[in-house]
Protein backbone atom coordinates (compact mmCIF):
# COMPACT_ATOMS: atom_id res chain seq x y z
CA UNK A 1 0.00 0.00 0.00
CA UNK A 2 1.27 3.47 -0.85
CA UNK A 3 0.17 6.91 0.39
CA UNK A 4 -2.39 7.33 -2.40
CA UNK A 5 -4.12 4.11 -1.49
CA UNK A 6 -3.96 5.09 2.16
CA UNK A 7 -5.44 8.51 1.48
CA UNK A 8 -8.26 7.06 -0.59
CA UNK A 9 -9.43 4.83 2.24
CA UNK A 10 -8.48 6.88 5.27
CA UNK A 11 -12.09 7.71 6.09
CA UNK A 12 -13.09 4.04 6.03
CA UNK A 13 -10.17 3.24 8.32
CA UNK A 14 -11.05 5.93 10.84
CA UNK A 15 -14.78 5.21 10.83
CA UNK A 16 -14.12 1.45 10.75
CA UNK A 17 -15.91 0.95 7.48
CA UNK A 18 -12.98 -0.70 5.70
CA UNK A 19 -14.19 -3.38 3.29
CA UNK A 20 -12.05 -6.03 4.94
CA UNK A 21 -9.69 -6.40 7.89
CA UNK A 22 -6.67 -7.17 5.74
CA UNK A 23 -6.90 -3.78 4.03
CA UNK A 24 -7.26 -2.06 7.35
CA UNK A 25 -4.20 -3.82 8.76
CA UNK A 26 -2.21 -2.96 5.67
CA UNK A 27 -3.21 0.69 6.03
CA UNK A 28 -2.22 0.79 9.69
CA UNK A 29 1.05 -0.91 8.86
CA UNK A 30 1.68 1.74 6.20
CA UNK A 31 0.92 4.52 8.70
CA UNK A 32 3.51 2.97 10.99
CA UNK A 33 6.16 3.43 8.32
CA UNK A 34 5.07 6.76 6.77
CA UNK A 35 5.17 9.99 8.82
CA UNK A 36 2.78 11.85 6.52
CA UNK A 37 0.19 9.13 6.66
CA UNK A 38 0.62 8.80 10.41
CA UNK A 39 -0.14 12.51 10.79
CA UNK A 40 -3.12 12.25 8.45
CA UNK A 41 -4.44 9.32 10.43
CA UNK A 42 -4.06 11.30 13.63
CA UNK A 43 -5.88 14.32 12.18
CA UNK A 44 -8.71 12.23 10.86
CA UNK A 45 -9.06 10.34 14.13
CA UNK A 46 -9.24 13.56 16.12
CA UNK A 47 -11.80 15.00 13.74
CA UNK A 48 -13.92 11.87 13.98
CA UNK A 49 -13.81 12.02 17.77
CA UNK A 50 -14.82 15.68 17.72
CA UNK A 51 -17.70 14.98 15.33
CA UNK A 52 -18.87 12.07 17.47
CA UNK A 53 -18.76 14.24 20.58
CA UNK A 54 -20.79 16.89 18.79
CA UNK A 55 -23.28 14.28 17.56
CA UNK A 56 -23.67 12.95 21.11
CA UNK A 57 -24.69 16.39 22.34
CA UNK A 58 -27.52 16.33 19.85
CA UNK A 59 -28.66 12.79 20.62
CA UNK A 60 -31.35 14.04 22.96
CA UNK A 61 -32.69 16.58 20.49
CA UNK A 62 -36.25 15.90 19.37
CA UNK A 63 -38.99 17.91 17.77
CA UNK A 64 -41.24 19.53 20.39
CA UNK A 65 -44.42 17.74 21.46
CA UNK A 66 -46.59 20.36 19.75
CA UNK A 67 -45.34 19.13 16.38
CA UNK A 68 -46.59 15.63 17.14
CA UNK A 69 -49.94 16.99 18.34
CA UNK A 70 -50.37 19.06 15.20
CA UNK A 71 -49.43 16.14 12.98
CA UNK A 72 -51.75 13.69 14.71
CA UNK A 73 -54.57 16.20 14.38
CA UNK A 74 -53.77 16.65 10.69
CA UNK A 75 -53.69 12.87 10.25
CA UNK A 76 -57.13 12.53 11.88
CA UNK A 77 -58.60 15.25 9.68
CA UNK A 78 -57.05 13.72 6.60
CA UNK A 79 -58.42 10.28 7.47
CA UNK A 80 -61.89 11.72 8.05
CA UNK A 81 -61.70 13.69 4.83
CA UNK A 82 -60.61 10.64 2.86
CA UNK A 83 -63.40 8.60 4.41
CA UNK A 84 -65.94 11.28 3.51
CA UNK A 85 -64.53 11.53 0.01
CA UNK A 86 -64.76 7.75 -0.39
CA UNK A 87 -68.35 7.64 0.85
CA UNK A 88 -69.20 10.65 -1.34
CA UNK A 89 -67.78 8.86 -4.33
CA UNK A 90 -69.79 5.74 -3.49
CA UNK A 91 -72.90 7.93 -3.11
CA UNK A 92 -72.28 9.49 -6.50
CA UNK A 93 -71.91 6.08 -8.09
CA UNK A 94 -75.13 4.88 -6.42
CA UNK A 95 -77.00 7.99 -7.57
CA UNK A 96 -75.72 7.55 -11.12
CA UNK A 97 -76.91 3.94 -11.19
CA UNK A 98 -80.25 4.95 -9.72
CA UNK A 99 -80.62 7.64 -12.36
CA UNK A 100 -79.99 5.14 -15.13
CA UNK A 101 -82.49 2.75 -13.61
CA UNK A 102 -85.09 5.51 -13.33
CA UNK A 103 -84.49 6.60 -16.92
CA UNK A 104 -84.85 3.04 -18.14
CA UNK A 105 -88.06 2.56 -16.14
CA UNK A 106 -89.48 5.81 -17.53
CA UNK A 107 -88.64 4.76 -21.10
CA UNK A 108 -90.32 1.40 -20.60
CA UNK A 109 -93.39 3.08 -19.08
CA UNK A 110 -93.71 5.55 -21.97
CA UNK A 111 -93.31 2.77 -24.52
CA UNK A 112 -95.96 0.72 -22.74
CA UNK A 113 -98.40 3.65 -22.71
CA UNK A 114 -97.84 4.24 -26.44
CA UNK A 115 -98.49 0.57 -27.21
CA UNK A 116 -101.65 0.56 -25.09
CA UNK A 117 -103.03 3.67 -26.75
CA UNK A 118 -102.23 2.37 -30.21
CA UNK A 119 -104.00 -0.90 -29.42
CA UNK A 120 -107.06 1.02 -28.17
CA UNK A 121 -107.23 3.19 -31.29
CA UNK A 122 -106.64 0.25 -33.71
CA UNK A 123 -107.67 -2.87 -31.82
CA UNK A 124 -107.46 -5.26 -34.85
CA UNK A 125 -105.02 -3.42 -37.04
CA UNK A 126 -102.36 -5.95 -36.47
CA UNK A 127 -104.46 -8.83 -37.86
CA UNK A 128 -107.08 -7.53 -40.27
CA UNK A 129 -109.69 -10.05 -41.38
CA UNK A 130 -108.81 -11.13 -44.92
CA UNK A 131 -112.34 -11.11 -46.19
CA UNK A 132 -113.12 -7.61 -45.06
CA UNK A 133 -109.84 -6.29 -46.43
CA UNK A 134 -110.31 -7.87 -49.79
CA UNK A 135 -113.86 -6.69 -49.96
CA UNK A 136 -112.95 -3.19 -49.09
CA UNK A 137 -110.21 -2.96 -51.69
CA UNK A 138 -112.16 -4.51 -54.57
CA UNK A 139 -115.55 -5.73 -53.69
CA UNK A 140 -116.48 -6.66 -57.24
CA UNK A 141 -113.52 -9.06 -57.60
CA UNK A 142 -114.60 -11.27 -54.74
CA UNK A 143 -116.13 -14.40 -56.23
CA UNK A 144 -118.67 -14.77 -53.48
CA UNK A 145 -121.65 -16.92 -54.44
CA UNK A 146 -123.98 -14.92 -52.28
CA UNK A 147 -122.90 -11.84 -54.21
CA UNK A 148 -123.13 -13.38 -57.68
CA UNK A 149 -125.82 -10.92 -58.59
CA UNK A 150 -123.79 -7.94 -57.44
CA UNK A 151 -122.54 -7.21 -60.92
CA UNK A 152 -126.06 -6.95 -61.88
CA UNK A 153 -127.03 -4.69 -58.97
CA UNK A 154 -124.06 -2.60 -57.82
CA UNK A 155 -126.11 -0.56 -55.39
CA UNK A 156 -126.99 -3.62 -53.43
CA UNK A 157 -123.43 -4.84 -53.47
CA UNK A 158 -122.13 -1.54 -52.19
CA UNK A 159 -124.70 -1.36 -49.47
CA UNK A 160 -123.87 -4.90 -48.49
CA UNK A 161 -120.16 -4.12 -48.38
CA UNK A 162 -120.74 -1.00 -46.37
CA UNK A 163 -122.91 -2.86 -43.90
CA UNK A 164 -120.30 -5.59 -43.61
CA UNK A 165 -117.55 -3.09 -43.04
CA UNK A 166 -119.48 -1.20 -40.41
CA UNK A 167 -120.28 -4.38 -38.63
CA UNK A 168 -116.93 -6.12 -38.79
CA UNK A 169 -114.12 -3.55 -39.03
CA UNK A 170 -115.58 -0.14 -38.56
CA UNK A 171 -112.32 1.65 -37.78
CA UNK A 172 -109.61 -0.45 -39.31
CA UNK A 173 -110.98 -0.18 -42.80
CA UNK A 174 -112.37 3.31 -42.63
CA UNK A 175 -110.56 4.37 -45.81
CA UNK A 176 -112.19 1.45 -47.61
CA UNK A 177 -115.60 2.65 -46.46
CA UNK A 178 -114.87 6.07 -47.85
CA UNK A 179 -113.87 4.54 -51.16
CA UNK A 180 -117.09 2.54 -51.20
CA UNK A 181 -119.11 5.67 -50.51
CA UNK A 182 -117.42 7.48 -53.33
CA UNK A 183 -118.07 4.55 -55.65
CA UNK A 184 -121.70 4.56 -54.52
CA UNK A 185 -121.96 8.21 -55.38
CA UNK A 186 -120.38 7.70 -58.81
CA UNK A 187 -122.75 4.87 -59.55
CA UNK A 188 -125.69 7.01 -58.50
CA UNK A 189 -124.53 9.74 -60.84
CA UNK A 190 -124.16 7.18 -63.62
CA UNK A 191 -127.69 5.89 -63.04
CA UNK A 192 -129.02 9.41 -63.13
CA UNK A 193 -127.20 10.04 -66.39
CA UNK A 194 -128.68 6.88 -67.92
CA UNK A 195 -132.14 7.96 -66.84
CA UNK A 196 -131.61 11.35 -68.35
CA UNK A 197 -130.35 9.84 -71.61
CA UNK A 198 -133.38 7.39 -71.70
CA UNK A 199 -135.80 10.26 -71.36
CA UNK A 200 -133.98 12.09 -74.16
CA UNK A 201 -134.35 9.11 -76.57
CA UNK A 202 -138.04 8.82 -75.79
Amino acid sequence: MNCKDFESMIHEIVSRRAPDKTKQLEALEHAGRCLWCALRLDEETKLTESLQAFARTLDVQRAPARVEEALVQAFRERTLWEGAARSGLAGKRLWRRLSWALAFAATVAVAWIVVLRTARVHPNSSVPPPQAANTAISPTRTPNPSQSNATEDPDKVLLQVQADLEREVPEAVAPAVLIAEERNEILANKEQTKTTLGKGEK
Partner: protein, 207 residues
Protein backbone atom coordinates in the same frame (compact mmCIF):
# COMPACT_ATOMS: atom_id res chain seq x y z
CA UNK B 1 -43.48 -4.00 23.44
CA UNK B 2 -40.71 -5.98 21.73
CA UNK B 3 -43.23 -7.11 19.16
CA UNK B 4 -44.22 -3.54 18.53
CA UNK B 5 -40.64 -2.38 17.91
CA UNK B 6 -40.12 -5.20 15.44
CA UNK B 7 -42.64 -3.73 13.04
CA UNK B 8 -40.73 -2.40 10.07
CA UNK B 9 -41.12 1.13 8.78
CA UNK B 10 -42.65 -0.10 5.55
CA UNK B 11 -45.32 -2.03 7.44
CA UNK B 12 -46.09 1.02 9.54
CA UNK B 13 -46.43 3.07 6.38
CA UNK B 14 -48.88 0.56 4.92
CA UNK B 15 -50.93 0.58 8.12
CA UNK B 16 -50.83 4.35 8.08
CA UNK B 17 -52.14 4.36 4.52
CA UNK B 18 -55.12 2.41 5.81
CA UNK B 19 -55.81 5.13 8.35
CA UNK B 20 -54.12 3.61 11.41
CA UNK B 21 -53.31 6.54 13.67
CA UNK B 22 -51.19 4.45 16.04
CA UNK B 23 -49.01 3.35 13.15
CA UNK B 24 -48.50 6.96 12.13
CA UNK B 25 -47.63 7.98 15.67
CA UNK B 26 -45.18 5.12 15.99
CA UNK B 27 -43.53 5.95 12.68
CA UNK B 28 -43.30 9.59 13.66
CA UNK B 29 -41.75 8.86 17.04
CA UNK B 30 -39.28 6.49 15.49
CA UNK B 31 -38.04 8.81 12.73
CA UNK B 32 -38.64 12.37 13.85
CA UNK B 33 -35.47 12.57 15.96
CA UNK B 34 -33.16 11.78 13.06
CA UNK B 35 -34.94 14.24 10.80
CA UNK B 36 -34.96 16.97 13.41
CA UNK B 37 -31.27 16.48 14.20
CA UNK B 38 -30.33 16.33 10.53
CA UNK B 39 -31.91 19.72 9.86
CA UNK B 40 -30.53 21.13 13.11
CA UNK B 41 -27.04 20.04 12.10
CA UNK B 42 -27.52 21.38 8.61
CA UNK B 43 -28.96 24.74 9.56
CA UNK B 44 -28.20 25.33 13.22
CA UNK B 45 -31.77 26.52 13.67
CA UNK B 46 -34.19 24.73 15.98
CA UNK B 47 -37.20 26.54 14.55
CA UNK B 48 -36.24 25.55 11.02
CA UNK B 49 -35.67 21.96 12.15
CA UNK B 50 -39.13 21.98 13.72
CA UNK B 51 -40.72 23.39 10.57
CA UNK B 52 -39.01 20.89 8.34
CA UNK B 53 -39.90 17.93 10.57
CA UNK B 54 -43.53 19.01 10.47
CA UNK B 55 -43.45 19.54 6.71
CA UNK B 56 -41.90 16.14 6.04
CA UNK B 57 -44.58 14.29 7.99
CA UNK B 58 -47.34 16.50 6.61
CA UNK B 59 -46.16 15.58 3.13
CA UNK B 60 -46.22 11.93 4.17
CA UNK B 61 -49.81 12.35 5.40
CA UNK B 62 -50.90 14.12 2.21
CA UNK B 63 -49.23 11.78 -0.26
CA UNK B 64 -47.91 8.60 1.28
CA UNK B 65 -47.64 6.69 -2.00
CA UNK B 66 -44.52 8.40 -3.27
CA UNK B 67 -42.16 6.06 -1.45
CA UNK B 68 -40.61 3.33 -3.59
CA UNK B 69 -38.98 0.57 -1.46
CA UNK B 70 -36.74 -0.46 -4.35
CA UNK B 71 -34.97 2.89 -4.18
CA UNK B 72 -33.93 2.74 -0.54
CA UNK B 73 -35.14 2.62 3.02
CA UNK B 74 -38.02 4.71 4.30
CA UNK B 75 -35.61 6.41 6.66
CA UNK B 76 -33.45 7.54 3.73
CA UNK B 77 -36.58 8.64 1.86
CA UNK B 78 -37.69 10.78 4.79
CA UNK B 79 -34.23 12.27 5.23
CA UNK B 80 -34.16 13.03 1.50
CA UNK B 81 -37.45 14.89 1.87
CA UNK B 82 -36.07 16.70 4.90
CA UNK B 83 -32.98 17.71 2.95
CA UNK B 84 -35.13 19.03 0.11
CA UNK B 85 -37.32 21.09 2.45
CA UNK B 86 -34.35 22.27 4.49
CA UNK B 87 -32.40 23.47 1.46
CA UNK B 88 -35.48 25.27 0.18
CA UNK B 89 -36.07 27.03 3.48
CA UNK B 90 -32.39 27.77 3.96
CA UNK B 91 -32.22 29.36 0.51
CA UNK B 92 -35.34 31.35 1.30
CA UNK B 93 -34.28 32.60 4.68
CA UNK B 94 -30.52 32.37 4.63
CA UNK B 95 -30.79 32.29 8.38
CA UNK B 96 -27.97 29.82 8.65
CA UNK B 97 -25.45 32.51 7.68
CA UNK B 98 -25.55 33.64 11.25
CA UNK B 99 -24.03 30.72 13.05
CA UNK B 100 -24.64 31.92 16.55
CA UNK B 101 -25.80 28.83 18.36
CA UNK B 102 -27.94 30.70 20.79
CA UNK B 103 -29.89 32.94 18.43
CA UNK B 104 -33.05 30.92 18.83
CA UNK B 105 -32.19 29.22 22.06
CA UNK B 106 -31.73 25.89 20.41
CA UNK B 107 -28.19 25.02 21.25
CA UNK B 108 -28.13 25.88 24.91
CA UNK B 109 -31.57 24.77 25.90
CA UNK B 110 -30.62 21.56 27.55
CA UNK B 111 -28.58 19.51 25.14
CA UNK B 112 -25.46 20.24 27.12
CA UNK B 113 -25.15 18.82 30.57
CA UNK B 114 -24.22 21.10 33.47
CA UNK B 115 -20.56 21.63 34.18
CA UNK B 116 -18.99 18.75 35.97
CA UNK B 117 -18.16 19.85 39.55
CA UNK B 118 -15.07 17.63 39.61
CA UNK B 119 -13.42 19.07 36.55
CA UNK B 120 -15.11 22.24 35.36
CA UNK B 121 -12.13 23.29 33.24
CA UNK B 122 -12.11 20.15 31.18
CA UNK B 123 -15.88 20.40 30.76
CA UNK B 124 -15.60 23.97 29.55
CA UNK B 125 -12.87 22.95 27.18
CA UNK B 126 -15.05 20.17 25.84
CA UNK B 127 -17.95 22.56 25.30
CA UNK B 128 -15.68 25.00 23.57
CA UNK B 129 -14.44 22.26 21.33
CA UNK B 130 -17.99 21.20 20.48
CA UNK B 131 -18.93 24.77 19.76
CA UNK B 132 -16.00 25.11 17.38
CA UNK B 133 -16.93 21.90 15.61
CA UNK B 134 -20.49 23.10 15.22
CA UNK B 135 -19.35 26.44 13.78
CA UNK B 136 -16.97 24.71 11.43
CA UNK B 137 -19.73 22.41 10.16
CA UNK B 138 -22.13 25.29 9.62
CA UNK B 139 -19.53 27.23 7.67
CA UNK B 140 -18.97 24.43 5.16
CA UNK B 141 -20.47 24.72 1.68
CA UNK B 142 -23.84 22.99 1.51
CA UNK B 143 -22.90 19.90 -0.44
CA UNK B 144 -19.87 19.18 1.74
CA UNK B 145 -21.82 19.93 4.89
CA UNK B 146 -24.62 17.54 4.07
CA UNK B 147 -22.16 14.76 3.27
CA UNK B 148 -20.47 15.24 6.65
CA UNK B 149 -23.79 15.46 8.48
CA UNK B 150 -25.23 12.37 6.85
CA UNK B 151 -22.15 10.13 6.94
CA UNK B 152 -20.29 11.28 10.04
CA UNK B 153 -22.93 12.68 12.38
CA UNK B 154 -25.73 10.29 11.44
CA UNK B 155 -23.38 7.40 10.62
CA UNK B 156 -25.27 6.35 7.54
CA UNK B 157 -23.76 3.99 5.00
CA UNK B 158 -22.50 5.45 1.74
CA UNK B 159 -25.38 3.78 -0.10
CA UNK B 160 -28.03 5.32 2.15
CA UNK B 161 -26.24 8.65 2.05
CA UNK B 162 -26.28 8.52 -1.74
CA UNK B 163 -30.01 7.86 -1.63
CA UNK B 164 -30.58 10.80 0.72
CA UNK B 165 -28.37 13.20 -1.20
CA UNK B 166 -29.56 12.04 -4.61
CA UNK B 167 -26.10 11.34 -5.99
CA UNK B 168 -23.74 8.42 -6.56
CA UNK B 169 -21.72 6.65 -3.88
CA UNK B 170 -18.51 7.95 -5.47
CA UNK B 171 -19.78 11.51 -5.23
CA UNK B 172 -20.65 10.98 -1.58
CA UNK B 173 -17.16 9.68 -0.89
CA UNK B 174 -15.43 12.54 -2.64
CA UNK B 175 -17.66 15.16 -0.99
CA UNK B 176 -17.08 13.62 2.39
CA UNK B 177 -13.37 13.53 1.82
CA UNK B 178 -13.29 17.15 0.78
CA UNK B 179 -15.64 18.21 3.58
CA UNK B 180 -13.52 16.53 6.20
CA UNK B 181 -10.38 18.12 4.80
CA UNK B 182 -12.04 21.54 5.06
CA UNK B 183 -13.12 20.80 8.62
CA UNK B 184 -9.59 19.87 9.59
CA UNK B 185 -8.38 23.15 8.14
CA UNK B 186 -11.07 25.15 9.94
CA UNK B 187 -10.37 23.45 13.21
CA UNK B 188 -6.73 24.34 12.88
CA UNK B 189 -5.28 20.91 12.32
CA UNK B 190 -4.67 21.15 8.61
CA UNK B 191 -1.12 20.85 7.35
CA UNK B 192 0.27 21.15 10.84
CA UNK B 193 3.58 19.48 10.61
CA UNK B 194 5.99 19.60 13.42
CA UNK B 195 8.82 22.06 13.19
CA UNK B 196 11.69 20.79 11.17
CA UNK B 197 9.57 18.36 9.22
CA UNK B 198 8.73 19.14 5.62
CA UNK B 199 5.24 18.66 4.32
CA UNK B 200 5.12 15.48 2.32
CA UNK B 201 3.31 15.25 -0.94
CA UNK B 202 1.32 12.03 -0.73
CA UNK B 203 1.49 11.52 -4.48
CA UNK B 204 5.26 11.23 -4.16
CA UNK B 205 5.28 9.08 -1.13
CA UNK B 206 5.68 5.50 -2.20
CA UNK B 207 6.42 4.07 1.20
Amino acid sequence: MAGVTEIRDEQLLRMMQLGDEDAFTMLYRRRQGAIYRFVLEMSGSASLAEDVTQEVFMALIRDNRGYDPSRGSLSAYLLGMARHHALRLIKRDRTYVSISPTRDGSWDSGELTPLSPENPHSEMSRRESIHLVQQAILSLPEHYREAVVVCDLNEMSYEDAASVLGCSVGTVRSRLHRGRALLIQKLGGGKKVEAGTKAIDPSRCLA
